[in-house]
Amino acid sequence: MKIKNVNEQLIKKIKETKTVVTHFGDDLDNRASIHVLEKWAKENGILQKDDTITVERVPAGKVKEGFINLDTGGHTGCREDENTIVIDGNPKEGIKSAIQALAERLKVEVPNQILEIADAMPTKISPFDTRSGLSLQKFTSIENVFEMAKEELLDKELTDEQLERYGLVEAQKSQQKTIDEAVEKIKKYTKELSNGESVVISPEFIKAGSIVAYEMGINYFASVDEHKSGQGVTFAINAKPGKVLPDKIREYGNNLVEKYKNQDGTSGVFVHPNKTMLVAGGPKNPDFKVDMSKEDMMNKIDELFSTYAREDLKRQIVEEENRKNKLLNENIALDEKEGQAKDLEREAQKLNDINKDKNIKM
């Protein structure tokens, strides 16, 4: 049998529903996952060539019972019962993305580049580099993205010929405009913190805002927006790659998660398990809002970062004080050694002089 029994439930669900469920908003991970699943199903006769998979959306972290859920479910890996399948990344177990989990399960080949960077922004790609494959992938078909990945173009600048070949010339121009506008707004909303770090607290959505900010050396990015209903706010706070959000921010986020917990245990507030992101509402949870005014939320975020920075600065001062004491002790010890060495030198010179005199007399 071509397909192992482990996928029996998956096959049944595909035939039954011809649907996958994923989060709002597309990224490389969910695009690649849907594409791979559909291709695998067609190649194995589970779907006909003319069939298309319907994509339904749920807020991030949520799961739709009775369906195949891809790249949603809270980044806690894959699970399955007789009714529902979840295929998702699990960073704690080394499964970086949904596409990695899916490729391993279906035993299909996926270009390495896609597996490496599906759910993470590689540090070697700069957002100022509007010609890179990854920054442009959302503007072209997923088939093209896979071709680009095979050529290992996702983390490289595309040439004029490649931009033309993948239909990305206009997209690149538009990206450049987006970056230029982001830089201007970021400069306006950046706050220098007392511990030497900096944060953007933006009262408006800035397209590509966080990745541009990090490229500018800013450590954290916060964006607050009025909810589409006109009441309440949504917000997102991120840390630069390599950093985590301060404890105070995560603590505030966890309190909000609890405050806005639904009966099914999910919440409109999400604190990423890797501690780099706190999101309330937004594209993946479009109906959710926090009951605060925009001004109050901005002030709250400002206060949280200011408090964190002050505590961090005090901690740095204590570290420097300890280092000062260590260096003072080292200086004292060296002074003593120097004194002893000088005494030895004097003694050695005295002996030498005495022996010189003896030799002369002899």
């Binding site: 007392s194 200011s306 920075a309 002050r310 600065l313 005090k314 740095q316 001062i317 204590v318 420097e320 004080e321 280092r323 000062k324 260096l327 003072l328 080292e330 200086n331 004292i332 060296l334 002074d335 050694k337 120097e338 060495a341 000088k342 030895l344 030198e345 050695a348 010179q349 002996l351 030498n352 022996n355």
Partner: protein, 79 residues
């Protein structure tokens, strides 16, 4: 602040450091300082520690030179 890396008297160095730190603290605890004062205090510590580190390097080199001189004297003695 006087450059302590060239000072030979460790007691003077300690006094110099304490005076500079106390100038910012002005009888207060760290918690009572403003953010600006905390930043100044941190900068001060960085300068102090940099000079103390310099002094360590200078002293280490001086001790090596002294040891070299002692060895030379002993060599001459054996000749």
């Amino acid at each position: 602040m006087k450059d302590i890396s060239v000072s030979d008297n460790i007691l003077e160095i300690k006094e110099n450091i304490d005076n500079n730190i106390n100038y910012i603290l002005n009888g207060r605890k760290i918690d009572e300082l403003s953010d600006r004062e905390l930043m100044l205090l941190k900068e001060l510590y960085i300068v102090i520690n940099s000079q103390l580190q310099n002094r360590v390097e200078i002293k280490k080199e001086e001790i090596l030179r002294l040891k070299e001189r002692i060895n030379n004297i002993i060599r001459k003695e054996k000749m």
